[in-house]
């Protein structure tokens, strides 16, 4: 395990509504485990969130949804405890602090979008007039005002996502737990959602966003919680996680100028192999007449890069491009998952 708590002091803290929970973490999971009979949901998860945007990523069955259910008080942990604003996550006081956007589309199809949002507002305890006011405001916020009178059964996937988000925002909760909120939304809608999430984070709200689409999460936030086999495999910013993974086997692509003889890249490869004994794979190709490409897999990336530097300076090889092919969070996730297996 790389890290557990996420320090959020570097996040913007311009709040429109001052949080009285500054000393208490908004979300605290302490050694939480949950089993469904013999099946492990989550195991010894410890997590602390205060504000800002946090991504929750992991493969199918990694335990994301179980963790979200525990946080939103819909499931009871077998071991450990989940506190929201210092209250047990299952208590009414805790649920007042949480806005939840589920991944399921289980609406009452015969209702219109507005009726559904108003009904959800009444469930929050608002009067009829206040429910209508809040429903109107939230529908506007998610860009559904013009389509609010249509029946839910006629909504597209994207519209449904917007309605689910609107109902989560109704009671202005400081903690928003969003399960796959951008799934099925068109690119324009995604951009709007990203802006909205960033606005909410800037207002001091804490957002925990679960997604399979890591590229989308990276547009939103650097902070990620990576889950694997029910555990938190890593929880930090992507660069920090990457930094910690520096000694993890990595595949690197090197484009070398082929030179006058046309085989400089092969000579470079031969020298690398003689100097570095830990190369597990090396593949050479010629994508063009000028460029020779090497695909190298090393167990010690730091040492490898130092040797490449030395070699270039000593032998005057011309490196056009050097890049780890697994730079993205997807690769980080893949590595982490592979490590834990």
């Amino acid at each position: 395990m790389i890290a557990v708590p996420i320090p959020r002091s570097d996040e913007p803290t311009t709040t429109t509504k001052p949080l009285t929970l500054s000393t208490t973490p908004l979300l605290l999971c302490e050694q939480v485990s949950k089993w469904y009979g013999p099946v492990r949901g989550v195991l010894q998860v410890t997590l602390e969130l205060r504000s800002g945007l946090t991504g929750l990523v992991g493969a199918n069955g990694a335990g994301k949804t179980t963790l979200i259910r525990l946080i939103t008080g819909q499931a009871l942990p077998d071991v450990g405890r989940v506190l929201v604003g210092g209250h047990d996550a299952r208590s009414t006081s805790a649920r007042r602090l949480v806005g939840y956007c589920p991944d399921v589309d289980a609406f009452y199809e015969e209702m219109s979008g507005r009726q559904f949002i108003e009904a959800m507002a009444r469930l929050c305890g608002y009067s009829g007039a206040e429910s209508r006011r809040r429903a109107g405001a939230m529908l506007e916020k998610v860009g559904m005002t013009g389509r609010a009178e249509r029946k839910l059964r006629g909504y597209s996937k994207g519209m449904r996502q917007r309605i689910k988000l609107a109902q989560a925002l109704l009671h202005d909760p400081p903690l928003l737990v969003l399960d796959e909120p951008m799934s099925g939304i068109d690119p324009v809608g995604r951009a709007e959602f990203v802006t909205l999430f960033k606005e909410l984070a800037a207002m001091g709200k804490c957002l925990l966003i679960s997604s399979h689409e890591l590229d989308e999460l990276e547009k939103l936030t650097d902070h990620v919680v990576i889950m694997s086999h029910g555990r938190v495999a890593a929880a930090d910013t992507v660069p920090r996680i990457r930094e910690r993974l520096i000694e993890v086997p990595t595949t690197i692509r090197i484009d070398v100028t082929r030179g006058t003889n046309g085989d400089d890249h092969r000579r470079f490869a031969a020298m690398l192999m003689s100097r570095l004994l830990d190369l597990t794979a090396l593949e050479a190709s010629e994508p063009s007449e000028e460029i020779g490409r090497l695909l190298v897999r090393t167990r010690t990336p730091r040492h490898f890069l130092e040797e490449v530097n030395r070699l270039v300076l000593e032998e005057w090889f011309e490196i056009v491009h050097l890049k780890p092919v697994d730079e993205s969070t997807q690769a980080v996730l893949g590595m982490l998952l592979a490590r834990r297996r």
């Binding site: 008080g73 006081s93 009904a119 469930l123």
Partner: protein, 355 residues
């Protein structure tokens, strides 16, 4: 002679000095005790009353702010289903039959001087015969039997609606995951069930108790003001019967719906309890002449029997006969209600949104 103990002397002296008015002191002491006890009782009573009032206030607040929004969604759902409109139409037809039947009876009463009157498509009939038919055969006479029959007809269609609505109200929430929307809001699990129960109760009373009260008022207005005074017990019976039906059917429906989520098993269980059991008990008692206690396996008959008792219907007017004692029917209903409530509580405690 031994010397007297000075303490004893002092004691004797004390007794001696109060010996003349000792009885007065005793009485005063006793009255003081009673006064203190009374004061304590009043204070305790006030405290209990205050606690009860607070509880009721809190409960009504919870119902209004937490359970009612859930009930409202449930009622909207029940009225949105087109499938149910046929059943609502049936209930409305029964009510209208009784409602206009009373006007027809009133009209026939005014036509008693005539030998024949024309009644729409039926043709010409003797008003006396018509009046007898309405009063004695159809029991449009404002009696307990009329309201008993009205409840019987109405509950037939309501029971079918309830059988189908169980999965709509609760089963679908559990099956499709709509429960997430409720449980992620500041609601307790029992608020959710209370809301659903409130919806079932409201729905049931809308088709049974409320129209029965309307008929009671209508009959009083058509007959005479004395009807209200003479039949006040009947109004109590109507409300009590509605209450028994509401509580009993709501608890059973909620318990079944929370354990059997799909429509088909729920309808099957419901039909077993209220239709199959009726057939079995009828076959045993009426066919094989077993003890009338076998009718106790039929929940519907138990409620019907209690309803008859509450409406003060004479026992010889209860069909089918013979019937078991009312007390036993009440005991069976109580036990079944308790069992269902226990199952419901277990379910509420265990409920987790797990797909």
């Amino acid at each position: 002679m031994a010397e007297l103990n000075p303490v004893l002397l002092r004691y004797r002296g004390w007794r001696g000095s109060l010996s003349d008015n000792g009885a007065t002191v005793t009485v005063l002491f006793g009255l003081g005790q009673f006064a203190l006890l009374g004061l304590a009782a009043i204070l305790t009573g006030y405290i209990q009353l205050a606690t009860l009032t607070l509880f009721m206030l809190n409960f009504s607040l919870v119902v209004r702010s937490r359970a009612w929004p859930v009930a409202r969604i449930a009622i909207e759902q029940l009225f949105c289903r087109r499938l149910f409109w046929g059943l609502y139409g049936l209930s409305l037809t029964v009510f209208l039959m009784y409602f206009f039947g009373q006007y027809l009876m009133s009209w026939a009463q005014n036509q008693l001087g005539e030998s024949e009157v024309r009644v729409g498509a039926v043709g010409k009939v003797n008003p006396k015969w018509l009046l007898d038919f309405l009063r004695n055969a159809l029991k449009f006479n404002g009696s307990a039997e009329m309201f008993r029959n009205f409840f019987w007809y109405e509950t037939n269609s309501v029971m079918i609606t309830l059988a189908l609505s169980g999965s709509v109200l609760i089963g679908n929430d559990l099956r499709h995951g709509s429960l997430s929307f409720y449980l992620s809001k500041p609601l307790e699990r029992w608020h959710y069930l209370l809301g659903k129960g409130l919806a079932v109760t409201g729905f049931l009373n809308l088709f049974t108790t409320l129209p029965a009260i309307v008929l009671f008022v209508q009959f009083g207005l058509l007959e005479s003001w004395d009807y209200f005074a003479d039949h006040s017990q009947l109004l109590f019976g109507i409300v009590a019967y509605g209450l028994v039906l509401s509580i009993h059917l709501t608890v059973i429906l909620l318990a079944l719906a929370s354990w059997l989520r799909n429509t088909v098993p729920l309808v099957m269980a419901w039909m077993t309890l209220f239709a199959f059991a009726q057939g079995v008990s009828s076959a045993l008692v009426d066919g094989l002449h077993y003890s009338p206690r076998w009718r106790l396996v039929d929940m519907w008959n138990c409620t019907f029997l209690i309803g008859n008792h509450l409406l003060s219907v004479p026992s010889e007017a209860i069909r089918p006969a013979p019937q078991p004692p009312v007390g036993e029917a009440a005991l069976v209903l109580g036990l079944v209600g308790f069992l269902c409530l226990t199952l419901l509580i277990l379910r509420v405690r265990a409920v987790e949104v797990v797909s």
